[in-house]
């Protein structure tokens, strides 16, 4: 496949496309990190949870609701669903070995995937997004409104969450419960509900990622599977312990694989994922905790 001549305009477009990809990975990676920090569990159902809520959005819009009316309804449903999953499926096994809980999340992924096929069928569906796909001129570079919209919504959500975690009493309690449950309990924090709240927030992050990416790809029950792999990679890249790392890792990964796929001839779109994982492997050899993660070393 011969490459077209290099132009800076196209390079800038590729960066923009990479940031858009990355914003989706960042949202999902952040969801993974929020659950991991509080329970040390990787939630393998994160992708299916996101797709499921996106299907709910599709159904609502199919009944005539506009995207922006459906959006907050879906977020509320996602939040309630995340909290319910924690209460019903995770809570009863909270003292079980981590592997047990991981298997439960895998089971949940399969369950949700099956439910989606039963309810909505396995076919690809067109999801009409809120943003137009026409391009506008940004400093001489044509970029689609949709790409800008996806990035703005994703970043806004991350910023809101950051403010919540940093400046509210509940956010502080959530952070405290994640690092030291016993001390938090004795300070009056209801740690069990903090974990449930974490699942609710993670589900909301997934729902937003799903509703943003569905117009770009097609909506089907497996929509998030590859994206979830990239999100895992992004979370590990940033450091599984670090919310900021997940976001930076997501954007970095999105830009890197987009550029590699476009400019390194033999990679193309088929080899993007293995190459991305290889790069992360190399990074982890150098920095085992990820870019922002804390390596568990104590001063003695």
């Amino acid at each position: 496949m011969p490459l077209a001549a290099f132009t800076w305009t196209e390079f800038a477009q590729q960066i923009a496309a990479g940031v858009r990809e990355g914003a989706i990975y960042a949202g999902l990676a952040l969801a993974i990190v929020i659950i991991y920090r509080s329970t040390r569990v990787i939630n393998f159902a994160q992708g299916e949870m996101a797709t499921f809520t996106t299907f709910i959005a599709w159904s609502l819009m199919n009944r005539g609701l506009s995207f922006w009316v459906a959006f907050p309804i879906v977020l509320a449903i996602a939040f309630a669903g995340g909290v319910t999953i924690e209460r019903v499926l995770i809570r009863p096994v909270e003292n079980a070995p981590v592997l047990t809980i991981v298997i439960i999340t895998l089971g949940l992924a399969l369950l949700l995937n099956g439910l989606m096929s039963i309810i909505w069928g396995g076919a690809n569906r067109q999801f009409r997004g809120p943003f137009s796909t026409r391009t506008i001129d940004v400093g001489g570079v044509p970029i689609s409104v949709q790409d800008i919209g996806i990035v703005v919504v994703s970043i806004a959500l991350v910023a809101l969450l950051a403010l919540f975690f940093r400046f509210t009493k509940l956010g502080l309690a959530l952070r405290a419960a994640a690092v030291n449950p016993d001390s938090s309990r004795l300070a009056g924090v209801r740690v069990g509900w903090m974990l449930a709240l974490g699942w609710g927030i993670a589900a909301v992050l997934g729902a937003v990622a799903g509703m943003m990416i569905a117009p770009v790809v097609f909506l089907d029950p497996n929509m998030m599977q590859t994206i979830l792999l990239y999100a895992f990679a992004a979370a590990v890249l940033g450091g599984l312990d670090s919310p900021a790392g997940a976001v930076v890792g997501g954007i970095l990964l999105g830009v890197t694989i987009t550029l590699l796929g476009r400019y390194v001839g033999f990679i193309g779109s088929t080899l993007k994922l293995p190459v991305a994982l290889l790069l992360i492997l190399i990074l982890l050899l150098i920095r085992p905790g990820g870019l922002f993660g804390r390596v568990a070393v104590r001063r003695v």
């Binding site: 502080l172 001390s183 004795l186 924090v189």
Partner: protein, 237 residues
């Protein structure tokens, strides 16, 4: 007429499998008292703290605070009853700043006025934005104390406050604990290995060995007690 004790540990037993951590231990703390809880390693002192703060549920017996049983109270509601504690090995919120650690301590309270006051009191106001776990060990212990004080407790449980401190720091700590009681109108139960500190600061001392009470009384009485001397130095051959 004697008033009701603020804290009553009433014939509490706690076993882990075949190991008896506490065996029918009874211990009263009157309002305003400083009581020392001492004993050799493994005597059950920290277990007693964990039972009082509801991290453990006793197998037998009852724990009453202000006359009411604590056994129906979950750990997250203990602080609202007016009980706060520190931990033997400092259990701070790693990655959170000093002030955020103390803010979590005030979680159960309305408003945050207590946070600044407490930070000034324990002399941490100037480092309040530093990461708590980056500070020296002795300073971390003060952060933990500040976190406990910020909840506005009536009963403060201190688990080895002198552990890991230098000789000078331990001397100052004794004075500090007595001042603390007055300034915050506290009742204090103190687990400590440092005998000098316990004997200088406590009104009464309670001695555990292998989960059983072997003596209680004033510091002078306990120091002269034969069972206590044997527990610490070994029985004469």
């Amino acid at each position: 007429m004697r008033r009701l004790p603020l804290l009553e540990v009433d014939h509490v037993s706690k076993r882990f499998g075949g190991i008896v951590a506490l065996e029918a231990v009874s211990l009263n703390v009157e309002a305003g008292e400083i009581v020392g809880l001492i004993g050799p390693n493994g005597a059950g002192k920290t277990t007693a703290f964990n039972v009082i703060t509801r991290l453990y549920t006793p197998d037998e017996g009852d724990v009453r605070f202000d006359g009411d049983s604590l056994l129906g109270t979950p750990p997250s509601a203990i602080v609202r009853r007016g009980i706060a504690r520190t931990f033997q090995n400092v259990e701070l919120f790693r990655g959170l700043s000093v002030i955020d650690n103390v803010r979590v301590g005030a979680h159960a309270r309305q408003g945050e006025e207590s946070v600044d006051d407490v930070l000034f009191y324990v002399n941490l106001h100037s480092v309040r934005h530093r990461g708590a776990s980056e500070l020296p060990y002795g300073t971390q212990k003060r952060v933990e104390l500040a976190r406990a004080l910020a909840s506005g407790p009536r009963l403060l449980l201190l688990d080895e406050p002198a552990g890991g401190l230098s000789h000078d720091e331990v001397e100052r700590l004794g004075t500090f604990i007595r001042r603390l009681r007055g300034d915050f109108e506290l009742t204090i139960l103190l687990v400590e290995h440092h005998m000098g500190l316990v004997m200088s600061v406590a009104d009464r001392v309670h001695v555990l060995d292998f989960g059983r009470t072997i003596a209680e009384g004033t510091p002078a009485e306990v120091q002269a007690d034969k069972a206590v001397i044997e527990a610490y130095l070994g029985a004469p051959a």
